[in-house]
Amino acid sequence: MANIPTAKPKVDAEHPATAQSPISNMAVLAPALGWLIPGAGHLIQKRWIRGALLMFSIVTMFLLGLATQGRVYKPNGGDILDILGFVGDVGAGGLYILTRAMDWGQVAVAHATADYGTKFLIVSGLLNFIAVADAYHIAIGKKQ
């Protein structure tokens, strides 16, 4: 029986961990931590300035959303916009969990700018999803 040559994994000089095992511990930990605490996925990979700026932007945006009496969506199976609102909100990770635990953001939208607050909350979650993807790309060596 002829020996079938097995392909050896190429060792990437710049990112040795990614060439041998595409799913490293950091590739799991960084996005998970980044979702739970915005910016932490970058901080754990020693991207201090990027992590701090992401944390500042996302957390401030979320807090502004709460301060302007924005609405926090609960898990729901009703209107499609409500479902999408929940998907956006849940992107903020730990902030969303804390908000739900403390029962914040449950007031009725009473004035026009409160609707901005609702959008701030959703968008901060969506921005955190982008930050999580970026942390993952750094962890697998796709981005510096």
Binding site: T68, F120, V123
Partner: protein, 60 residues
């Protein structure tokens, strides 16, 4: 604590925070990140002015 933002200040804050995240996540080097962040901010705020003038024209 209740905060009431004006329409313009809400738009500028939104633009600033979104631009920071876009700049950091969509570009690699620090210089490119800064440039892209400023570009996004200008587009956001410019879009606010364009939309504002369009609404003014429609209203007339």
């Amino acid at each position: 604590m209740t905060l009431e933002l004006s329409h313009f200040s809400a738009a500028v804050l939104f633009a600033a925070f979104a631009s920071i995240v876009f700049g950091i996540t969509q570009r690699t080097s620090a210089r490119e990140q800064l440039r892209y962040g400023l570009y996004c901010f200008a587009m956001f705020v410019g879009g606010v002015f364009v939309a504002g003038w369009l609404m003014w024209l429609i209203r007339r």
